[in-house]
Each structure stands twice: as structure tokens, then as C-alpha cells.
């Protein structure tokens, strides 16, 4: 078991006004799972992802990650976990402008101590090759299509061999063909044993996962295995 979430809540306090975002959520994620979290905006799915990704702190409850209690970590330790155990993929890619594809991919590694520079670079080149970007390593993000940019972001998420990949609406800004390519890559990664948590509000994207969880008003309203996983290489059905 990689993640155990036990009855966590999250309240946002703004001007003394308490807004609950999560109202007692419990579930587990095993190694090698591909979980899609669905819900309309305001359902708490982003909050949940931020907490799981150690970007935000929970208000109450228990979060065990990789057999460690997350409530015991200080800010620097959280940064280290984000750096070495989590790989983030964002809806808007968040690549650094005027920075080459290769340097964007290597960005997390400058915060990782004791890395072999040569080996890391070779790994980055291998991964870029796998997602079909080996011709693009010297390009800047503004010279790439949206799909290519998201593939760079995926490689960046993989560079430190994370225990968990967090994808926040990874196809949200993409046309259907690029979206399909990205989902194919995520499915391939999952086949290779990567654990993936993906937030989406599109049913057809969620169906590419192996398990779908639906949140509403800060609570889980359903959590089911996908009986028949849709393979992205067959095209995304809308």
C-alpha cells in the first residue's frame, strides 16, 4: 500500500470565514494503481490532490505516504518528498519559458542532492526519446505544440523516479489527438508499474484509468474499479 487516507478534512479560512473543502475522506491507493478522481469544480478534488502532493496541509485526519505519517514533516522535508517521490503534471504544463526542453526536464534535479550529472542527463535524453521528443531537446517551449509541451512536462515529472505521479487535468488544454497521445503515455507508464493519480472532470478521460473516484461537496460519493479499461490508443471516445 502506497497511500492511506484516513478521514481527512480540509477547511479554508478566509477573513474568518471557514469554508470546508474536504469533509472526511478515507481511501487507500496501492502501488501500481491508476486512479482517476472526478468531480465538478468545488467538489474538493483539487484540494485532495494538493494534500496528497504535499503542497497543502490537511486540517484533520491522517495521511500515510509510503509508510510515513505526513503530519510529521516540516516544510523542508515536504519539499524533499515533492522533489524525489512525487511527479507533478499540470493542466497548463508550467514549463519555464526561454528554457530548453532538456533544461526544463532537468529542473527538478537541481534541487536533488548528490546526483550524477551525466547519468541524469542521459536518463532525461532516454525519456525524451521514449515520448518522441529526441529531436526537440534544444527547443524552447514556445516552439512546441501543446501536446509536445505536455510530454515534456511528463518527462520532467518522471526524471526523479517518483513513487507517485499526480496529473491535474493533463488533457484539459489539449486537442483530442494530443490528449489521446498524453493518455497513451500515462497508460504505458502505468503498465510499467508507475502509480498514477489523475484529476479530471471528463468522464471519457477518467475511463482510461483503472479506478474512478467521484467527489461531491468534499465527500466521496463513489469509488469503483473500471471493469473494462478503455485503451487510449484506440482513440478517446467522447
Amino acid at each position: 500500500m502506497l497511500i492511506k487516507i484516513d478521514n481527512i478534512t480540509k477547511d479554508y479560512i478566509d477573513d474568518g470565514l471557514v469554508t470546508p473543502a474536504l469533509r472526511g475522506v478515507s481511501f487507500e491507493i496501492d502501488k501500481g494503481e491508476f486512479l482517476a478522481v472526478m468531480g465538478s469544480s468545488g467538489s474538493g478534488k483539487s484540494t485532495l490532490m494538493h494534500i496528497i502532493g504535499f503542497l497543502d496541509k490537511l486540517t484533520s485526519g491522517k495521511y500515510i505516504f509510503d509508510d510515513q505519517d505526513a503530519s510529521n514533516f516540516d516544510d523542508d522535508q515536504l519539499a524533499e518528498i515533492r522533489n524525489q517521490k512525487i511527479g507533478f503534471i499540470f493542466q497548463s504544463y508550467n514549463l519555464l519559458a526561454r528554457t530548453s526542453v532538456l533544461d526544463n526536464v532537468l529542473l527538478p534535479t537541481i534541487y536533488t542532492p548528490n546526483l550524477n550529472k551525466k547519468k541524469t542527463e542521459k536518463k532525461a535524453l532516454d525519456l525524451l526519446n521514449k515520448v518522441g521528443l529526441s529531436e526537440r531537446i534544444g527547443h524552447n517551449p514556445n516552439q512546441l505544440s501543446g501536446g509536445e509541451q505536455q510530454r515534456v512536462a511528463i518527462v520532467r515529472a518522471l526524471i526523479n523516479k517518483p513513487r507517485l505521479i499526480l496529473a491535474d487535468e493533463p488533457t484539459g488544454n489539449l486537442d483530442s489527438k494530443s490528449g489521446q497521445e498524453v493518455m497513451e503515455i500515462l497508460q504505458d507508464l502505468n503498465e510499467d508499474g508507475h502509480t498514477i493519480l489523475m484529476v479530471t472532470h471528463e468522464k471519457y478521460v477518467a475511463e482510461c484509468a483503472r479506478r474512478i473516484m467521484v467527489l461531491k461537496d468534499g465527500k466521496i460519493i463513489s469509488d469503483e474499479k473500471v471493469g473494462n479499461q478503455h485503451l487510449a490508443k484506440n482513440g478517446l471516445k467522447k
Binding site: 516544510d75 519539499a79 524525489q84 508550467n94 526561454r98 527538478p108
Partner: protein, 410 residues
């Protein structure tokens, strides 16, 4: 690796916005250039001043009439005539140990004429010790002897400039000139000495001290006495011997009632050195204020930069940058900017100082081009420190950004 990457990154960010970086650096460039050039000009001026005093000769002490505070100027400097110092005092000092030579001085001004040429010059009544005390010599002819002083001989030694004016290329030796209508025989011409203690030594003439007292000015006293001491370490003891000798001669029992004061060139050099040093530092401090203004410009632009790169900061935090990493990144960036500004400023400042050197030398002063490594080092350090201090606030704000909010920032 991390430091190297960070410096590379900040250089890249500076180069991305060349004109903005340059305009931001301009404050630092001007400030550092001002500090460097002022320090240089100050050092050159100090050198010139001290050289003027040093040219009077080393290991000299002066005896001036009238009492004075150790630190303050003697009364004679204010044009008050005090008649207590006599040539006999100088003769008495000659016999003291460690004293190599003594010279009495009395100056006046009058017209000096040869044939139909006449011009106003300073004349200096001095004794035969002058040559040793002032470390100079005659260019032709000879200087006067002691017996010529005692016999009130009417002989004169010309400064080289006076000789040129009155005689041109002719040989003046044994010719007769008139000083205030009194006829003198020219026995020598001094070598060229130029400006010493801000007085052109070549534009005066020298007559025996007693001759100037009795025949030219009709007085009995001296303007001052100078004595040359054999070694620097003996100056202190020589001064105390000189004091007691003159007290004995003037019948002074209580040192508070001294009617003379003693100065040494070392003392004068010290005093002059301290004053010019203080002046130099004050000017540099004023110039340094512009560095602070430059620093505020840096701070301003760093806030803009932090704002523009909010999403980048959010991303860096999300993928594992710690607070100190972000803080460090922006501090390095501002310090890189001020350091680059500082280096450009140092080069500019040196060029300004060099231009000033050429200019002043053109007007005939021996103005040296002095840029001390210390001033370069201090300026460089100051530039870096300014970058760190004024970069701290923006960098700290960047480091405290909330990653989630920063990622959503538009």
C-alpha cells in the same frame, strides 16, 4: 553544481532583459565609478601635498617664534610679527648632539635690478647651513660662507628663475645687482628646485642672514630656524634639547611661558596625512550614498521580477525547491546584477581618474595616477553587499510565496 547552476540562471535572466538590467545597474555603475574616481583623485592629491612637504627635506625640525598649542598653528602664521627669535639662538643649536646643520631664515620682498631690468622678488636671508638643511646645491658659483655672514657681506645667490629673467644666458657671477637700491655682488646661482611647500624656490634670491637683518630690513630677529637631525629616531630627543637650550637662552623657567614653538616635518606630514585622509574618506562616503540609491533601484526591479515570475516560483516550489533555494536564487540574481554593475563602475571610475591625471599633468603638476587595489576591493565588496541587502526583501517575499497560489497566478 547548485551554486553554479544558480549563477548561470541569474546571468541568463539578466541577459534576457538587457536594457532593463543595464538601466537598473546604472545606479550602481555611477556610484561605484564615483567612489573609485574620488578615492583615486583623493590619493593623488594627498600624494601631491605630501610630496610638496617632503621636498623641504627629511628629518627637519622648525623653531618658530611665539608660543602655540601643539596642535594649532603658531602665531607667526597669522602674520603677527614676534621678535624673540635671534640668529644667536640658531648658533647655539648648532652645538647640540644629533643636529647636522641649522639655518636661520628671514624673508622680505623688494625690487631686484640689473642694468635696466627690474622686478619684484622675495629675498631670503639665510645662514650657510641652508644648503645642507634644504638638501640643495648651487648650479654655478658658490654659496656664501660664515665669515660673509659675520661681516655683513653684500653678496647674493640667485634662484635659477631670477637669473634667467635678469641675465638671460649671460654669466651673472661677479656681476652686481641692486636689492632695494643696495648693491650686491652675485656669487652663485641655485640649482632648479621648482615648487616646494607651494613656494617657487627658483623665484627668490638668497642673501646672508645678518645682511638681510641689518642692511635690508633693519631688524634683529628671525622669521624661523630650521635644523636637520641626523636620524629619524633622534628627532624626539633633539626637540627636547632644542627646547631646553632656547629656554635657557631666553631665561624661561616655566615651559608654559615658552616664547617659541617647535614643529617637525614628520609632525606636519602626519597632520597633513590625517587631514587629507579624512577628506578623502568623507568624499568617498558622499559618493557611496549614490550606491544606496542604486540599491533601491535594484530592490524595485527585483520586486517586479518576483511578480513576473510568480508562476515560475510556484512551479519550482512544487517540484522540490525549498524556501532557502528560492531565497538564494533571487539573492544571487540581485548580487550578480550589482556585481556586474560594480565591475563596469570600477572600469569607468578608473578611466575617469586616468582622464583627470592626464588633465592635471597637462597643467604642469606632478599628479600621479593612483588606483589602490583596496579601493577596487572595497567597491566590489560594497556592490555585492548592496545586492544582497537590497535583494533580501524581494527574495524573502519570493521564498514565502504559497506554491498553490503562485501556480494559479495570472
Amino acid at each position: 553544481m547548485y551554486l553554479f547552476e544558480t549563477i548561470k540562471l541569474s546571468l541568463k535572466n539578466l541577459l534576457l532583459k538587457k536594457s532593463r538590467s543595464f538601466l537598473t545597474m546604472l545606479g550602481i555603475i555611477i556610484g561605484v565609478a564615483a567612489v573609485i574616481s574620488i578615492m583615486s583623485v583623493g590619493a593623488s592629491a594627498q600624494d601631491l601635498l605630501l610630496a610638496q612637504v617632503r621636498a623641504m627635506g627629511s628629518n627637519l625640525i622648525g623653531v618658530l617664534p611665539g608660543a602655540s598649542d601643539e596642535a594649532g598653528p603658531p602665531a607667526a602664521m597669522f602674520g603677527i610679527e614676534i621678535t624673540t627669535l635671534k640668529h644667536e639662538d640658531a648658533l647655539a643649536l648648532e652645538k647640540l648632539p644629533h643636529i647636522v646643520a641649522v639655518c636661520s631664515y628671514l624673508n622680505g620682498r623688494g625690487s631686484i635690478s640689473y642694468l635696466n631690468k627690474s622686478k619684484d622678488y622675495n629675498y631670503m636671508g639665510v645662514s650657510e647651513g641652508y644648503i645642507i638643511v634644504e638638501e640643495t646645491t648651487v648650479d654655478s658659483g658658490r654659496f656664501f660662507r660664515q665669515d660673509e655672514i659675520d661681516s655683513l657681506a653684500r653678496v647674493v645667490v640667485l634662484g635659477s628663475e631670477v637669473k634667467k629673467e635678469l641675465f638671460g644666458d649671460d654669466n651673472p657671477i661677479d656681476k652686481r645687482v641692486k636689492i632695494n637700491q643696495v648693491s650686491f655682488k652675485v656669487i652663485g646661482v641655485m640649482e632648479e628646485r621648482g615648487v616646494v611647500a607651494f613656494q617657487n624656490q627658483d623665484e627668490q634670491v638668497f642673501v646672508p642672514i645678518k645682511t638681510s637683518q641689518k642692511l635690508l630690513l633693519g631688524v634683529n630677529h628671525l622669521a624661523f630656524i630650521r635644523a636637520k637631525i641626523d636620524k629619524e629616531e633622534n628627532i624626539e630627543s633633539a626637540i627636547s634639547r632644542v627646547k631646553s637650550t632656547i629656554r635657557f637662552r631666553h631665561n624661561i623657567k616655566d615651559p608654559i611661558k615658552d616664547d617659541f614653538s617647535i614643529r617637525s616635518t614628520d609632525q606636519a606630514l602626519d597632520m597633513l596625512g590625517t587631514i587629507t585622509q579624512a577628506l578623502k574618506m568623507f568624499l568617498a562616503a558622499v559618493a557611496a550614498i549614490s550606491l544606496i540609491v542604486g540599491g533601491i533601484g535594484i530592490m524595485n526591479i527585483m520586486f517586479v521580477s518576483v511578480n513576473e515570475r510568480t508562476r515560475e516560483i510556484g512551479l519550482r516550489k512544487a517540484i522540490g525547491a525549498k524556501r532557502k533555494n528560492i531565497l538564494f536564487q533571487f539573492l544571487i540574481e540581485s548580487a550578480t546584477m550589482t556585481l556586474m554593475g560594480g565591475l563596469i563602475g570600477i572600469i569607468t571610475g578608473i578611466l575617469i581618474a586616468w582622464a583627470i591625471t592626464i588633465g592635471v599633468n597637462y597643467f604642469g603638476y606632478d599628479w600621479k595616477f593612483i588606483v589602490t587595489p583596496v579601493s577596487v576591493l572595497i567597491s566590489t565588496m560594497m556592490a555585492i553587499i548592496i545586492g544582497l541587502i537590497f535583494g533580501l526583501w524581494p527574495a524573502s517575499r519570493a521564498s514565502k510565496l504559497n506554491a498553490i497560489k503562485a501556480l494559479r497566478y495570472e
